[in-house]
């Protein structure tokens, strides 16, 4: 393995550790506001992972949508339900040990599965600006889902309004 391979792996490991740490913080921090901030950190980590997978459009969309929009949504929700936030004695419910055990076993299973399957690798390097290709794909192959997205968004909006309205 050459120098850049080593550096790539180091960077990957760094990003992965930071992402997982932020993810763990999201799950474990008692204060929901802090957890939400840790979630933002996780989103950044995932964006970096996308970059390593040479999906730059997706990386920026990750920041734009997840950090810029969904995180804000969550923060607003935290603020709106803040009255209860500090009165909790524990942030973890009674079944956490069971859940942790089950998930642990699940993870081990997944991990072994990932290692055992002989994945078929056939990727070519991604060069140049792929956004026009993405637009083309959206307008041709994925036309119907593309239009359905707008309907989904409409439904979301109306549904959320009706649920949240005073």
């Amino acid at each position: 393995m050459d120098l850049f391979g080593v550096i790539s792996q180091l960077v990957f490991l760094l990003v992965a550790v930071l992402t997982l740490a932020a993810g763990l913080a999201t799950v474990l921090l008692r204060n929901v506001f802090h957890a939400a901030l840790a979630l933002v950190g996780t989103f950044f980590g995932v964006a970096a992972i996308y970059l390593m997978l040479e999906a730059e459009f997706l990386a920026i969309v990750q920041i734009l949508v997840y950090v810029g929009a969904i995180a804000v949504l969550i923060l607003f929700a935290v603020m709106l339900t803040r009255g209860m936030m500090q009165t909790e004695d524990s942030n973890i419910n009674s079944q956490w040990a069971w859940a942790a055990t089950a998930i642990g076993v699940l993870f081990v299973g997944l991990f072994i599965l990932i290692l055992q399957v002989p994945w078929k690798i056939s990727g070519q390097p991604v060069v140049g600006d792929t956004t026009p290709a993405l637009g083309t794909a959206l307008l041709t192959t994925y036309l119907l889902p593309f239009e359905v997205v707008s309907v989904l968004l409409l439904a979301t909006l109306i549904g959320a309004f009706i649920i949240a309205r005073e």
Binding site: Q95, A99, A102, I103, L106, V108, G109, L110, I112
Partner: protein, 721 residues
């Protein structure tokens, strides 16, 4: 290449339905025009297809217009497709259905406007409060009828069939509730409409279940529901592969009978005919459209569509066609007899419809395919005409009861004339449509029953005698209706004064239908059998054997005179009873002198009381004996449960008490302890188990994850061994 647009034909009325239902339902006139526009567009396209089909000629039968481009859903290696199939008979239906529908639509524009006398004595005209809904529903109906006609597979056919069933239900019960401002209906009518719609729906449901069962069995045995694939020789032979289901009954026979069950209910054949007379509670255009011209004939059309199956069955020794002929022949005479004693002008026509449908089925059952099909077409025209004319009378007079009419021809000459044409056609009098088609059926029955080369066939002979008698009775009751309604002196001056000639939008459709009634018969005269050549010359899809056709011979001439004689005989008897000495005001019907027979006829042989649902004039309804017997049975079961079973339990309890007294202390402390112990153990276990239902989503999710974990463990174990 109009044929490629066949699938669009039903779309226009359906679109009209959607537009009216969603957008314009508050605008009465606009809705009506949208509905009419939808039918006109469908008619134009249908005529295009029809003309193209005519140009193809008889060849169309073996190479029909067919396309199934819309993939609905795939199963296994095949798919169920939506498409169209137009063979000669289908094209004739495509001509008949939208034409009749258009006439009825135009007629309804004025018919659904009611007049009543206001507080100040003036006559007020106003639209029915559900005017737009009416047009929406009949548009939906028309669309589904057209969809049924062009269906390329049985499932599509069945869907359209069910939508029609719903429309029928909704339209029979159109007046089943009453707004504050509705003057044209009373509470009795509301009650009748409500009961009648439920009766119609439930009765036809019996047939639909049979049809669906047949369809499922067909799919299982043949593997497809597409007509063209189903009737290929392989497709039909597939049915013989499996083990026969019940004893000697073969698969084709069973399936054909089940499918015919759908027809029996939909086309109101004995014994499921009971719903049709009561269905007359709906508005008259509905009776004309659904219960005379189209929906009930859809049942016949089903037999026509599945005819290759019936033929195949009789070739392999089944008896489904004989059943069809038997039921058709019996219904023809049975319903005709019942029609004699009805006083409601529409009910007479309803029984007449049942009877005529019986004719068609009898013809199909004895193998006279072309004659039966032709009667289907002609009957639609003249029966729609009769209904509409009767509706015009009802609309003008304000009652359904013929005994309260009389002498109306002076007041409504145009209506009278058109009704007369329709009545003559129904009786089978030269040169109107019914004459040609009915004569054809009688001729075929005569020829096959008495002069067949393969020897006499008793069943066909029965059919002939039954149909000939029915023809006589048809002429009789039609004549009775004619004389009671239009001739003689007015029997109720109030209603007579109220009567007036119909507005132009009502009589123009009548006149057009009368014109059709006059000329349509010439499509298939014995001398120039164009329809026979078109429909019958090349057989059917999957049955490329020409139907037997005889040139005009002596027998045909005899048959013409016989049928004319029968018709005139019936008319003469009617004149003798009702025309010669008209029934006066307040006089009973001369037929009442028949006593018990008349009462049997008037109450429809008490079949409603036996197994149906008896709807009284005052809007109350009462279940039939059979139904009540089931009710009684359940009540008896309840009683049995309460008294015998509970009694036994009580007895055991009493016995136990005695025992307890006898054994005293021991009992109390041992037996009771065991009982209590088991109870509390059960309670404990239940109490423990029910905590599983914490109501906490996360618990449930955890259990799901535990399932995933179990799989993970399984996977790990497998991968390490």
């Amino acid at each position: 290449m109009v044929q490629n647009f066949t699938l669009l034909i039903p779309l226009f009325p359906l679109l009209a339905f959607a537009i009216i239902a969603l957008l314009t339902r508050s605008r009465n006139r606009l809705s009506a025009w949208i509905a009419i526009l939808g039918v006109i567009l469908a008619l134009a396209l249908s005529l295009g297809v029809f003309l193209e089909a005519l140009a193809e000629g008889a060849e169309l039968a073996v190479n029909p217009f067919y396309g199934a481009p819309i993939v609905w859903y795939p199963y296994g290696t095949a798919t169920v497709n939506f498409g169209w199939l137009v063979d000669p008979m289908g094209s004739a239906m495509l001509f008949m259905v939208p034409t009749v529908c258009l006439m009825i639509f135009i007629y309804s524009v004025a018919y659904m406007r009611h007049s009543h006398t206001g507080k100040d004595g003036h006559t007020i005209h106003e639209d029915d409060p559900r005017y737009a809904r009416f047009f929406a529903l009949i548009s939906l109906f028309t669309g589904s009828m057209l969809l049924l006609v062009i269906s390329s597979n049985l499932l599509q056919f069945f869907i359209a069939w069910e939508i029609m069933g719903f429309c029928s239900y909704a339209l029979i019960g159109f007046w089943s509730f009453r707004g504050l401002k509705e003057h044209h209906i009373d509470d009795a009518q509301v009650g009748r409409a409500r009961a009648a719609s439920i009766k119609a729906f439930l009765t036809t449901r019996v047939g639909d279940v049979l049809l669906m069962t047949g369809m499922i069995l067909l799919f299982i045995t043949v593997g497809t529901l597409d007509f063209t694939q189903m009737f290929s020789p392989d497709g039909l032979n597939n049915m013989l592969l499996g083990e026969p289901p019940i004893g000697a009954l073969q698969w084709p026979t069973l399936i054909a009978l089940l499918i015919f069950g759908g027809t029996v209910a939909k086309s109101a054949q004995f014994p499921l005919h009971i719903w049709l007379p009561d269905a007359m509670e709906g508005p008259t255009p509905v009776s004309a459209l659904i219960h005379a011209a189209t929906m009930v004939s859809a049942g016949i059309f089903l037999v026509i569509r599945m005819y290759p199956l019936f033929v195949f069955d009789s070739q392999t020794g089944g008896f489904s066609m004989q059943t069809v002929a038997l039921i058709g022949g019996f219904t023809a005479i049975f319903a005709a007899v019942l029609g004699l004693a009805q006083n409601d002008i529409k009910r007479v026509l309803a029984f007449s419809t049942v009877s005529q449908l019986g004719y068609m089925l009898a013809a199909l059952g004895i193998g006279a395919f072309v004659a039966g099909s032709f009667h289907l077409i002609t009957h639609a025209f003249f029966k729609a005409l009769l209904f509409l004319a009767a509706g015009a009378v009802i609309h003008a007079v304000g009652t359904n009861d013929m005994l309260k009419m009389g002498g109306l021809w002076r007041k409504m000459p145009i209506t009278f004339l058109t009704f007369l044409i329709g009545a003559l056609a129904l009786m089978g009098i030269f040169p109107f449509a019914g004459f040609w088609s009915k004569d054809e059926i009688l001729l075929e029955a005569l020829r096959l029953g008495f002069f067949s080369e393969s020897g006499a066939a008793p069943l066909v002979q029965f059919v002939f005698i039954s149909l000939a008698t029915a023809a006589f009775i048809t002429a009789l009751y039609t004549g009775r209706q004619l004389f009671l309604t239009f001739f003689g002196k007015p029997r109720d001056q109030h209603f007579y004064d109220h009567a007036h000639e119909s507005p132009v939008t009502i009589w123009v459709p009548l006149a057009i239908l009368a014109l059709f009634t006059t000329v349509i018969g010439f499509w298939n005269t014995p001398f120039a059998p164009a329809f026979t050549g078109y429909v019958g010359e090349a057989g059917l899809v999957g049955l490329p054997v020409p139907f037997e056709h005889h040139a005009f011979d002596q027998l045909a001439l005899i048959s013409i005179f016989v049928s004319l004689g029968i018709a005139f005989g019936g008319l003469f008897v009617a004149y003798f009873i009702y025309g010669f000495r008209p029934v006066g005001a307040g006089q009973p019907d001369p037929l009442e002198r028949l006593g018990i027979i008349y009462r049997a006829l008037a109450s429809k042989f008490w079949l409603d009381e036996l197994y149906g649902y008896k709807i009284n004039l005052d809007g109350t309804a009462r279940a039939g004996l059979l139904v009540r017997f089931v009710g009684l049975l359940s009540r008896f079961s309840y009683w049995f449960d309460r008294t015998i079973v509970d009694g036994l339990v009580n007895l055991v309890g009493w016995f136990g008490r005695i025992m307890a007294r006898l054994w005293g202390w021991f009992d109390k402390h041992v037996i009771d302890a065991i009982v209590n112990g088991s109870g509390s153990v059960t309670g404990e276990i239940a109490g423990w188990w029910r905590t599983m239902q914490t109501g906490n989503v996360q618990n449930y999710a955890l259990i799901a994850v535990a399932g995933a974990m179990a799989f993970a463990i399984l996977f790990l174990l497998r991968s390490f061994t």
